[in-house]
């Protein structure tokens, strides 16, 4: 094995290239097409470098670990089958890029088209090169998604959208089934590596999970390859632009299913189940597709059903499970690609020139567009299986295999049906030739057709050359077919491809097919009339009905459970959580308590009692919103006290300052909300809620009690031991915040900042909506205080501001060694500032506020981030702190730590966020007609009392 790392590069190239067309389209359509071709050509060249190795029978492979825990690795390998498909995907891809350049009109966004095309190309390449089935599944789903984009490319056409949706639904659902099948395979073998799985064919066939895996994988393959009864999506996908149809339905998308069956052939084929499921499905699809194709008037519809029929043929050959059939299948894959891609492009040219694809409106085009006619005729003849073209050889091989296949003890049924399929195949191929190109020239074409520019027919012409060349010199294709067939079967194959096999049963079957096919075309008019009268199941209607019932079912389910009653969801959530917990408690074991119970001093009883009473009051008095706010602040105070008692001074400081700002915030909000909650719940509902609440509370209390009385090993010992040595601080909580778990804290200040900005944005949006009008029309309660900014408070808060700031600074500076730090300091300073807002009024305080709160949040996060990044300069990980001691003679020894700068960031972010939140709420008040004060006091004692009052009244009257 040689180094295959180049394979990963080949697989990734189209994805990288997909970024280019969107940019290059600005440079014009030619540039765009050329640059799209670059990754494809490059990948093709790189693939070419691997050809000699593969031809020698080597397998090129590479592995990049991705998620080894899941068995998922980015492994790629290239054997004969992979080479055949990769060559087809890239080669035809290149022709399609050229063809699409001339096909797409100026109105179509070409950049988008090429981007989708390359995405699809990359996904297909990934499928055929993957050596890991999980990776293969990812690419498999990617083809479904990218083909959805391609099929629905003409977004303005409803057929395009519906066709794309149908293709995605069918192939996507099949892909889901296949995931199941692949995982089963992986489980049987114990590896998700394709090469490992392929080596374990006997184990898999002997496993009792063989059948489920087989069925699930086949559902995936059949949906993708449009096998009966999933064939219906393919014709609807014809709403796509013709280059897409030519690409998806000749070389790639639908061949993915065939590829998968060929790939899995060594492990899955050869059993009765495989034969009866795969061969029978293929046979039915082949005959059915051929019959329907004959009666399609749309050129692309005809080709679509012919594709369905040929895919059926390939499936049937793989289903036979014999070496010779596998060789025939591989060879036919190549041949079908050459003639079908060319035929699709021909149909596109006809559509492009004559502005119609309706066969009944065409005819006589041979004289008007001779080059197109020659291309179309040769390739259609190959499709019919005419000697000496390539289609003939593989068809003979197919008939030969069918001729001696026994189906359920019956030697006739397969050959007869295969011949029947061949008859119709000949008929629709001839119809394509005679009804489009043959006959007299008409004068009622929607547009007078003539041969297109060279760019448009270059690609199909090249393919036509291949059709003839392979037909005349089949030995040219022999090496490729050999390595591919070897890869499929896992055995040594020696195909001898030749045009003339002598007079064999297969030749007679061909002769019959041509004779009957000719007759069928001759009587086509009458048959068509019968066909049109016959009741036929309309696949789209059935599909739509199924989809509709699924949607109705989903709606009924979602509507029934998701009915908008929030309180019910919450109740269910609580009940479910309690039930799960109770189950765990009663079924699992619990060890005996290990901790001694701490004694309870009397003061703690007082605190506990006030907490319980306050909670009861909040709950029972919640309808009086004002009062409940007072009670809830009692709870906060008791909890702060509890933190002090239980050795958590930092928490106590934080809790009490947060408590203050929370109550202020709620008070501000309550200003705009109704002051009372109406009684709406019935007694029954209240009782039910009480039961749910007590159950939930009891469960949490029991859980808390359970762990409180038991010991635990935690990682805290490490923090205690290293706080001073590593972080340079004696307050372990603060050192954890700014050092050990600084990354968490960094995230948290960002979250807090985002919350602040969210509130600001919400408020901004609110003031532009209908709420603004409602706010303006608000009537304020008449019994408001005349003296909104009382003298006492103004003077007191002003005097307190420097002190409060001093306290904040002190708390900040001591934080590393004593209780305090950035969080608490930020909160304390915000309270100091809030007091100014409350005492002296919003406008007065805002005028003196020089730094915007937004930028304060920003600076906080930046300072914290830069401090963390500073550690990189010292070659340490993000947020590693450094510290040392300074000694200024008059003052005592002073510690510095980089953690201090980080804490400064925390401080600024907290201050900015808290202030921004409250500022936002206050802005609503101003918007609602709150008068703006410019002086700190409403009632200035230095002025005459009456004047001030009058002035105030005037302002409010405005």
């Amino acid at each position: 094995m040689n180094d295959g790392s180049i394979l990963a590069f080949i697989a990734i190239l189209p994805f990288l290239g997909a970024l280019v067309p969107g940019i290059m389209i600005r440079a014009g359509r030619n540039a765009c097409a050329s640059f799209t071709a670059v990754p494809t050509v490059l990948a093709l060249i790189l693939l070419g470098t691997q050809v000699p190795a593969v031809m020698r029978g080597e397998v090129v492979s590479t592995t990049i670990e991705w998620l080894p825990q899941l068995g998922l690795s980015a492994s790629f390998f290239l054997d004969g089958l992979g080479l055949l498909f990769a060559g087809m995907i890239l080669g035809v891809g290149l022709l399609i890029i050229l063809y699409a350049r001339f096909y797409l009109s100026g109105d179509d966004p070409m950049g988008q088209f090429y981007t989708y095309l390359l995405l699809f190309q990359g996904a297909m390449l990934g499928i055929v090169l993957s050596d890991n089935i999980l990776l293969l599944l990812i690419f498999w789903e990617l083809t479904s998604l990218s083909s959805f984009l391609l099929i629905g490319y003409w977004k303005h056409l409803p057929e395009g959208r519906q066709g794309a949706r149908m293709a995605l639904t069918v192939t996507g659902a099949g892909g889901l089934a296949m995931i199941g099948g692949m995982l089963i395979l992986g489980n049987i073998v114990g590896s998700y590596n394709l090469t490992d799985i392929l080596a374990q064919g006997d184990v898999i066939k002997a496993s009792e999970w063989y059948m489920p895996a087989l069925i699930l994988i086949l559902i995936g393959a059949f949906t993708k390859s449009a096998q009966f009864p999933f064939h219906f999506w393919l014709p609807h996908a014809m709403a796509a632009p013709t280059p897409v149809s030519a690409y998806l339905h000749s070389a790639t998308m639908v061949k993915a299913g065939v590829f998968l069956m060929a790939r899995m052939w060594p492990v899955l084929a050869g059993t009765d189940a495989w034969f009866y499921i795969v061969a029978t499905t293929g046979l039915i699809t082949m005959v059915l597709g051929a019959v329907i194709a004959l009666f399609k008037d749309d050129l692309k519809g005809l080709l679509a059903f012919s594709t369905v029929s040929h895919l059926g043929l390939l499936t049937m050959l793989l289903g036979f499970g014999t070496k010779a059939a596998a060789i025939a299948a591989v060879f036919h894959i190549i041949n079908h690609l050459t003639f079908k891609a060319a035929l699709f492009m021909t149909a596109g040219i006809v559509d492009h020139e004559a502005h119609t694809r309706d066969i009944k409106r065409l005819g006589g085009l041979a004289k008007l567009m001779p080059i197109t006619a020659i291309i179309g005729t040769i390739t259609a003849l190959s499709m019919a299986g005419t000697i000496p073209l390539n289609g003939f050889i593989s068809k003979e091989m197919m008939l030969e295999e069918a001729a001696h296949t026994v189906w359920y003890n019956n030697p006739w049924i397969v050959p007869v049906l295969a011949t029947l399929g061949a008859c119709f195949s000949v008929a629709y191929s001839f119809r394509f030739i005679f009804h489009v190109f043959g006959g007299p020239v008409r004068d009622d074409y929607p547009s007078t057709p003539h041969d297109p520019p060279f760019g448009l027919y270059a690609a199909p012409a090249l393919l036509t050359v291949l059709v003839v060349a392979i037909g005349a010199m089949p030995f040219l294709a022999e090496p490729l077919v050999t390595v591919a067939a070897n890869a499929v079967t896992g055995l040594d194959t020696h195909p001898h491809l030749k045009l003339w096999h002598g007079v064999t049963p297969a030749l007679w079957m061909s002769v019959i097919a041509f004779a009957v096919g000719g007759v069928l075309l001759a009587v086509h008019g009458k048959l068509d009339a019968i066909w049109l009268r016959m009741p036929r199941p309309e696949a789209k209607a059935i599909f739509d009905a199924i989809m509709e019932s699924c949607v109705a079912l989903a709606k009924a389910f979602a509507g029934g459970t998701h009915n908008g009653v929030m309180s019910r969801y919450l109740a269910l959530l609580v009940v479910a959580a309690v039930a799960v917990g109770a189950h765990a408690y009663f079924t699992g074991g619990i060890s005996a308590p290990t901790r001694e119970i701490l004694p309870v001093p009397p003061l703690v009883w007082v605190g506990w009692l006030s907490l319980v009473v306050a909670t009861w009051l909040v709950v029972s008095q919640h309808r009086n919103r004002f009062r409940s706010l007072v009670f809830i602040s009692i709870i906060g105070l008791v909890i702060s006290g509890g933190f002090v008692y239980l050795s958590a001074p930092d928490l106590a400081l934080t809790q009490i300052s947060v408590e203050t700002v929370t109550i202020m915030l709620l008070l501000l909000a309550l200003y705009f909300l109704p002051k009372d909650t109406p009684a709406e719940s019935t007694n029954g509902k209240r009782l039910r809620d009480a039961v749910v609440a007590i159950a939930g509370g009891g469960a949490v209390a029991a859980l808390a009690m359970a762990f409180l009385t038991r010991d635990v090993d935690s990682i805290s010992a490490y923090h205690l031991a290293n706080s001073y040595k590593g972080g340079g601080g004696t307050n372990v909580v603060n050192v954890i915040l700014v050092d050990f778990r600084g990354y968490d804290t960094y995230g948290e200040i960002i979250v807090l900042g985002i919350a602040g900005l969210t509130i600001f944005a919400l408020m901004d949006a609110l003031l532009r909506g209908p709420a603004a009008k409602r706010l303006r029309d608000r009537a304020f309660s008449p019994d408001r205080s005349r003296d909104r900014h009382p003298l006492m408070m103004v003077v007191a808060t002003r005097a307190m501001l420097p002190m409060a700031v001093m306290v904040g600074l002190y708390i900040f500076l001591r934080g590393h060694n004593q209780p305090g730090g950035g969080f608490v300091a930020g909160l304390v300073i915000s309270i100091a500032l809030l007091m100014q807002y409350m005492a002296s009024g919003f406008a007065w305080a805002q005028l003196r506020q020089r730094i915007e709160y937004h930028s304060m949040i920003g600076w906080g996060v930046i300072i914290a981030g830069l401090t963390g990044a500073g550690a990189w300069l010292a070659g340490k990980p993000f947020l590693t702190s450094a510290y040392g001691y300074l000694h200024f003679p008059p003052i005592e020894e002073f510690e510095w730590a980089t953690a201090m700068a980080f804490d400064l960031g925390v401080f600024l972010a907290v201050l900015g966020a808290v202030m921004l939140m409250l500022y936002s709420l206050s802005r609503i008040a101003r918007f609602a007609g709150e008068t703006i004060n410019v002086t700190p006091m409403d009632h200035d004692p230095s002025e005459a009392p009456e004047d001030g009052a009058d002035e105030q009244e005037q302002k409010e009257g405005q």
Binding site: G564, V565, M566, S567, A571, L598, V604, W605, W608, L611, T615, H622, I639, G642, L646, S647, A648, L651, T654, Q655, T662, L665, L666, L673, E680, D689, V692, A693, I694, G696, G697, V700, A701, A704, M705, L708, T709, D711, S714, S716, L720, S723, V732, V733, N734, R741, D744, T745, L752, A755, L762, L766, P770, A771, F823, A913, V914, M917, S920, L921
Partner: protein
């Protein structure tokens, strides 16, 4: 002491749950506040209880300390829960001002309004 803390957590949780099952936004906000208290104390208690053992290192004596890690986590949780309450309040306020009602349950009427104007 353990019983006191556990029962306090239980009482706060029960009160919180009862309030979040109410039908108006304001009691739900109060309920969330009660639940925040309960959760914070609960998390704090996972470090187990200790009296007179603050996690401030003593350079001069070998003493025991309470578990600092839950304290550090709860400290940020307290601040974040303030942020969350603030966002909730703002959303509730916005909803009330826009809809002139602070009911939290959606009615069929709302559904009809929501689906109106949406393409099928």
């Amino acid at each position: 002491m353990e019983m006191i803390v556990a029962s306090a957590i239980g009482v706060l949780t029960a009160g919180g749950i009862y309030l979040i099952l109410r039908l108006r936004a304001f009691p739900v906000i109060l309920g969330m506040a009660l639940l925040s208290y309960a959760v914070n104390v609960f998390l704090f208690a996972t470090g187990r209880l200790a009296v007179n053992a603050p996690p401030i290192l003593n350079k001069y004596a070998d003493v025991s300390y309470s578990d600092p890690l839950p304290q550090a986590l709860v400290l940020t949780a307290i601040v974040i829960s303030f942020g969350m309450t603030a966002v909730l309040v703002m959303i509730a306020l916005g909803a009330y001002l826009e809809a002139d009602s602070d009911e939290i349950n959606m009615t069929d009427e709302d559904d009809a309004q929501d689906t109106e104007g949406q393409g099928v």
